[in-house]
């Protein structure tokens, strides 16, 4: 109320000019690497099924005018603003493109804060044939190119070993609890609500690598977000890879062997071929060695929806054009999503996202 100039941008004109220049450098990078710029629908009947991402829904009042093409169904009355362009882009890979990138807007409900805006700019790219390391190398190249800093790499397990002395892939909830007793642990972890995924709800999830009962996931997330993340990428950008299998999302999982201390047997566990980029404690990008198996995706979607239901959220459509396409065959590939506004923030030394957005939530 005190600020009567809400029609003006929150970002300085100087920052908006720098932002535009960064966008140019980004496009140049992709051009030099032979990537094709694409545009996929922002509004779609499909949406990413994530336990903690809430898409904006658009429900059309009446069936939209539609001249049916051969074999096409009329558009659904309920559509979603994309939380990322992942589905559309993967369908382009299925269609035959091999190196694509997109600069687009993504939308997430209830995400507003110093580092969040419910509408933000996402850069996403895919390259066929890339395994996790090839995709990490490309992300490191891009980061170095744009931020002019050499990039380091470590694993999720090494970070946990370093900070709390436990291997996150094999540690139990009790061990995680014990290792963090000196911190202010939130109530929802200490006294988890009785709303755990019950055996009836998890029926059909025979694949044990698909994750824990959700409680360990909560612990790992809290420890990572509260005790570790802030320290990451302080001197140089840092890429973290090999996340716990329960955080695979749309990444594939791989068997990994951990050598325990002398005498003890080796531990073989599954990790997600997922990686994230951190600069100054801020998460900038998230990448996957992409999951190809439609059955695993269907299973994960169902599990996520079971959790969403327990959380009191709506189930999201498990069927999708992507799932159909994956049955036809998604070529082996890796993909990365990068938050462009945050990249600009760290590039220009800004501390809030509103300094780089012209009209953030509250002024949009």
């Amino acid at each position: 109320m005190t600020d009567r100039k809400n029609f003006l941008p929150t970002a300085t004109l100087e920052n908006l000019k720098k932002r535009a220049a960064l966008l140019e450098s980004l496009r140049l990078f992709f051009r030099q690497h032979d990537f094709l710029e694409v545009q996929t629908p922002i509004l779609s009947a499909d949406t990413v099924v994530d336990r903690y991402l809430e898409p904006f829904q658009i429900v059309t009042q009446s069936a939209p005018d539609f001249s049916p093409q051969k074999g096409a169904a009329p558009p659904s009355a309920r559509r979603y603003l994309q939380t990322s362009p992942e589905f559309g882009m993967k369908r382009l890979l299925i269609g035959g493109l091999e190196k694509i990138y997109q600069i687009t807007h993504a939308f997430r409900q209830d995400e507003t804060g110093p580092l969040h805006n419910s509408e933000f700019t996402m850069v996403e790219w895919y390259r066929c044939g890339d395994d996790q390391q090839a995709a990490i190398d490309l992300l490191a190249d891009l980061t170095q190119n744009l931020l002019n800093k050499e990039v380091q790499q470590t694993t999720y397990a090494d970070l946990f070993l370093k900070h709390i002395g436990l291997n996150p892939h094999v540690a139990t909830v009790d061990q995680l609890k014990e290792a963090t007793t000196s911190y202010a642990i939130p109530d929802y972890l200490l006294a988890p609500s009785p709303q755990k995924i019950s055996s009836t709800l998890s029926t059909g999830h025979q694949n044990k690598t698909e994750g824990d009962d959700g409680q360990k996931e909560d612990w790992l997330n809290w420890i990572f977000a509260e005790l570790i993340q802030n320290k990451l990428g302080r001197e140089r950008p840092l890429i973290v890879n090999d996340y716990p299998a329960c955080q695979a999302a749309l990444a594939r999982t791989a068997k990994q062997t951990f050598q325990e201390e002398d005498g003890k047997p080796k531990i073989i566990t599954e990790v997600a071929e997922r990686f994230e980029l951190f600069v100054d404690g801020i998460e900038l990008a998230n990448g996957y060695h992409e999951l190809l198996d439609p059955e695993v995706l269907a299973m994960r979607n169902e599990r996520v929806n079971d959790f969403r239901e327990l959380d009191g959220r709506e189930r999201l459509p498990e069927e999708s054009y992507l799932l159909q396409g994956m049955k036809a065959g998604l070529p082996p590939c890796s993909g990365v999503a990068l938050g462009f506004d945050r990249l600009a923030m760290v590039a220009f030394g800004l501390s809030t996202i509103s300094e780089i957005l012209p009209f953030p939530d509250g002024r949009a």
């Binding site: 507003t112 110093p114 202010a184 929802y188 909560d218 955080q247 998230n286 959220r313």
Partner: protein, 190 residues
């Protein structure tokens, strides 16, 4: 009573935890790319003034606290009870000496005071930030000692003792900061 969802959390919200009212003085939204969102809150207990750090997960809820604040007039003290009157409704509210705490030192009849009700019961009383009080008694200041950093206790009209500069004399009116209990300035010398 309203239930606040984490997405409603913001600075200034009044909520109830363990049947006590809290004011949300800070709220930080943290949402990693994977996993749940966190709402890191600082909550000030409106009765005891203590601060609580709490982290909530997206989807958790807090009950609103039925907290009301308005200005009253201090009427009188009877035994251990302080009586205040709403300036518009003329309704009277009673607070115990415990609830009033050190603020008794500043209370003069007719003084405008802020009263906070929780679930209809008074829990807090705030006098004006600065009050003017007449000095009833003090030792004479040593002649010629003009140093301002030397203080002496004086007794004001409410019966409270306030530390004042040495030059303050009986009959002076002084201004006192009720948040700290500190002498601010001399208002008059009559």
């Amino acid at each position: 009573m309203t239930t606040y969802k984490t997405s409603d959390f913001r600075k200034g919200l009044k909520v109830q935890i363990n049947n006590e009212p809290y004011l949300m003085t800070e709220m930080n939204f943290v949402k990693p790319g994977k996993g749940n969102a966190f709402y890191k809150c600082k909550l000030k207990n409106l009765v005891r003034g203590t601060t609580l750090d709490r982290t909530y997960k997206g989807g958790e809820t807090l009950e609103s606290a039925d907290v009301m604040e308005f200005t009253t007039q201090f009427l009188y003290k009877q035994g251990n009870t302080f009586v205040f009157m709403h300036r518009e409704t003329f309704e009277q509210y009673e607070l115990s000496a415990d609830q009033v705490g050190d603020n008794w030192k500043y209370l003069m009849e007719g003084m405008p005071c802020q009263i906070t009700l929780f679930n209809g019961n008074p829990i807090l009383m705030d006098p004006p930030v600065q009050v003017e009080l007449k000095v009833d008694f003090c030792e004479p200041g040593a002649k010629g000692n003009t140093a301002t950093n030397v203080t002496k206790p004086v007794t004001v009209e409410t019966g409270a003792e306030i530390l004042c500069p040495i030059f303050i004399e009986m009959g002076n009116v002084i201004k006192v900061d009720t948040r700290t209990g500190a002498y601010v300035e001399r208002v008059s010398t009559s």
